[in-house]
Symmetry: C2
Subunit: 198 residues, 2 copies
DNA sequence: CTGCAATGGAACAGTTGTGTTCCACTACGA
DNA sequence: TCGTAGTGGAACACAACTGTTCCATTGCAG
């Protein structure tokens, strides 16, 4: 099944992309706006997603898939927990407007289910290997992570002159500062790979 | 002027409070909802604020005043820039739902005008006295600040069992970690008052 | 060319929020 | 007791969005 024509797939994807873009900056935007942004008639949109709720559900699924893909790219198994988390941030940051969407409906349980557990494991690993401050509970770290990524994304959006790369650097720098234990206490066998690039 | 009866003032304030609460969790909520939350008839609400825009404007002004009050309580002149910033965070955190409101409309220029400049000065002071990482531009720090405070507030809201005090501690800890320069590099004539409290 | 898949537009009814008007009710001071 | 300030409720017209139906169109495959 699901062997719809190439045209249909393209139209569906265009609608989803537009929906993510518009819903990100205004969760209450009208279906007419989304259809227009997708360069598609409102009728066509309704043909693919009968009700608004159907579109939202599809967006949630699409978003979830992108999250999973990003997590895979981040190779969370490699290195310390802290390093893995920073790699994940880089990947997540590329999700762009989806960040706003996820962040604004953070209580929406849609995304969390799978990724929340995955991230929890990474953070716990970081706690054990000393790359993440043990005094910060994992849930709190998740909050910080998402809010910072959202902040970085909107920071970038408000400053067309600043480069994606520079903002990403600021994000990573600030985040790793937040999460790395302050004083090199006693426990870690702190090794070669320092936190900051360049 | 402005010597309206005590009743009127109380009603007006109840509406504003309810508006801040509801708009914080849903910027698109209806006037009927706000009126109900304020335990006031919709007619009465319209009597105080003819149009929705009028209510929003009043909320913005009220919010601005609370921000200014909080900034005054923080005694921004005292101590290093970093210390002053952390004190301000404590005060801002008490603003509660207003945080969500400000954060969600961050591009809304209403609040920024005065406070943005004030905070900019404090951060610059922190840059000079070495209590704030000079590699982080002031605008970026503002983004981080607001997003973290918002995250902390919603973190608290989602966990009725966690105490306001504990969350505030997490916030301060994470934030000061973010902003304090990492290695005592070489440049600063690092003075007596070290960055980390406790 | 014919036929079908995909689309866009127009029109419609239904819902929800808005802003307004009008009237009735309550409390309180003169 | 009366008058007034403050209020609440009902009703209305209006606007926007939604979901649906119907029909005309484009474009491509056979």
């Amino acid at each position: 099944m699901a062997v719809t024509s190439g045209t249909k797939n393209r139209t569906r994807q265009a609608i989803l992309d537009a929906a993510i873009d518009l819903l990100a900056e205004n969760p209450g935007c009208s279906l007419g706006d989304i259809a227009a942004a997708a360069q598609v008639g409102r009728t066509t949109l309704h043909r693919y997603f009968a009700e608004r709720a159907d579109l939202l559900a599809a967006v949630a699924i699409e978003g979830g898939q992108r999250l999973v893909r990003a997590a895979r790219l981040a190779e969370l198994d490699r290195g310390t927990g802290g390093e893995a988390l920073m790699r994940l941030c880089r990947e997540y940051f590329d999700l762009g407007p989806l960040l706003s969407l996820i962040f604004s409906e953070q209580g929406g349980e849609c995304w969390e289910s799978q990724d929340e557990r995955l991230l929890g494991d990474v953070i716990e690993r970081g706690h054990r290997d000393g790359s993440i401050d043990g005094g910060l509970p994992s849930e709190w770290i998740l909050s910080v992570l998402w809010s910072q990524m959202y902040a970085a994304w909107s920071y970038l959006g408000e400053r067309p002159d600043s480069s994606r790369h520079d903002v990403l650097d600021l994000l990573i720098r600030t985040l790793s500062n937040s999460l790395t234990p302050r004083q090199p206490a006693a426990a870690q066998p702190v090794r070669n790979k320092g936190g900051q690039s360049q």
